[in-house]
Amino acid sequence: MSGGSRMSSVSSIEPKRAAVGDLDSTRAATPPRRADVWGAARRALPPVALGVAGLVAWELLVRLKEIPYYILPGPLLVIATLVKDWGTLYPSLLVTLAITGAALLVATVAGVLIAILFTQSRWIERSLFPYAVILQVTPVVAIAPLIIIWVKSIPLALLICAWIVAFFPIVSNTTLGLNSADHNLLNLFQLYGASRRQVFWHLKLPSAMPYFLGGLRISGGLALIGAVVAEFVAGTGGVQSGLAYRVLESGYTMQIPRMFAALLMITGTGIVIFLALTALSHLVLRSWHESAVKREG
């Protein structure tokens, strides 16, 4: 192991260090990559098998019981519809994605800035935090109609709704993170005469990073939910409509397979957002945070 050879080189330079007991624990050896891939495949096997079995059962049920497609379409029909209606569904996916992405972006920027504002003074936090909570606990379905009335542009109204749902986890997590810097490290920074800016950039921000990323992962899913819910309420048709409207529209016209196809796309989008943010979190934290590091032994 690399650490072992290092240790011996240290002791050969200086004989007195031959018994460096505490240098014994060598650096974590990186596990071989092949094993990683196999391990991942083995972990993925049970849920994938269960999913496939469920789909087969569903298809069989629909065929054997001759359930009409407008009550419950089989998975094969849903896939076929997805391909057939791709021309309609894909633009809608882009609309929903745009609103979700924009809402998440604004929620992230605004959330982090608000969290930084909170940590500047206890008074600011005490005054504003309750209102952030109120905004969070009020169901977006209930305020969406108002926002749609007040804001002329529908995409902007949808964006605001999605933002309201998405910003709270980022604010509360980042605030918690900024306040949880190690007190002894704060003392150390003070001892070396660090400025407020240095404390913020070199200590508070890195300390908050795992908390922020945790909040971001929750907010990603919430932004999508917010966008979909708001669009349900808005119920706008036309070219500029997202997946939620496709679900509504399919319901009105009894095109149930298409409804399933749109639903599938919404779920797929949510999963992709979650995986992307998880990967981002892992990438940022992999070298140091316990959550992203494999347990040894």
């Binding site: 200086e14 650096r27 974590a28 150390l188 005469g193 070199h202 990073m209 140091w288």
Partner: protein, 248 residues
């Protein structure tokens, strides 16, 4: 003289009286241990000497410095490293905060890492290191500014005995070479006798110095000192003083 504390009181905001009427001189080049029961205010003394916090009564003077402590290195009970930074970045932190030019900072960083025997571990993250190695990083970080005074707050208390003995020896060797002033907080009679040139025995809270003992044992000390009659004699007498200080 490095620092002089006269009749120092310290009362915390929650009403706890940590120190009452504490007198203590820290002399140039000495290895001074503060020995006392846990909760007696040893760490408070160290923090005050470091300039982290104000006295509630009495006064504290530092030599050569406009009412401020000079260059100080501080080693906490825990390694207190930034988990997101490598050993190298952790050690260089004090220089970075002070805006020391990069070239000079790197030279000093290499020197400090060499002193604690961590060459080759510069790019490791703290979580990859054992407790003793983390403590070495913490010491390297304290040494990187070339401090006149090294303040250590029970630095090896959470380590196993084998590692602690090893670090004790390495610390003594460094001190013999560099001759900074060390103020070392400990609750171990044995560790204080082994390391110090002088021991200040403190009472239970509210803390003050009950007595002082000079340890007149030749330097450099090594493992043979741990088993010598002189060492045993000092341990016995310091233990007796500690017991008396706790009773009083």
């Amino acid at each position: 003289m490095i620092a002089r504390l006269q009749q120092v009181d310290k009362v915390y905001a929650n009403g706890v009286v940590a120190l009452r009427g504490l007198d203590l001189d820290v002399g140039e080049g000495e290895f001074l241990s503060l020995l006392g029961p846990s909760g007696c205010g040893k760490s408070t003394v160290l923090r005050l000497v470091a300039g982290l916090g104000e006295v509630s009564g009495g006064r504290i003077e530092w030599s050569g410095g406009n009412g401020r402590p000079g260059d100080i290195g501080f080693v906490f009970q825990e390694p207190t490293l930034m988990p997101w930074a490598t050993v190298w970045k952790n050690v260089l932190l004090p220089l970075k905060l002070r805006g020391v030019p990069l070239e000079e900072a790197e030279a000093r960083g290499r020197e400090a890492i060499g002193m604690v025997g961590l060459d080759g571990f510069e790019h490791a993250y703290p979580r990859e290191l054992s407790g003793g190695m983390k403590m070495r990083v913490s010491i390297a970080r304290a040494l990187v500014t070339h401090p006149r005074v090294l303040l250590m707050d029970e630095p090896f208390a959470s380590l196993d005995e084998i590692t602690r003995f090893k670090l004790d020896n390495d610390l003594l060797a460094l001190w013999a070479r560099q001759r900074w002033t060390v103020v070392f907080v400990t609750h171990s009679v044995y560790e204080s006798v082994y390391l110090s040139t002088r021991i200040a025995v403190m009472t239970a809270r509210p803390g003050r110095t009950a007595s002082e003992v000079a340890i007149d044992a030749p330097a450099p000390r090594d493992e043979s000192f741990r088993t010598s009659p002189l060492y045993n004699e000092y341990c016995r007498s310091v233990s007796a003083r500690l017991a008396e200080a706790i009773r009083s």
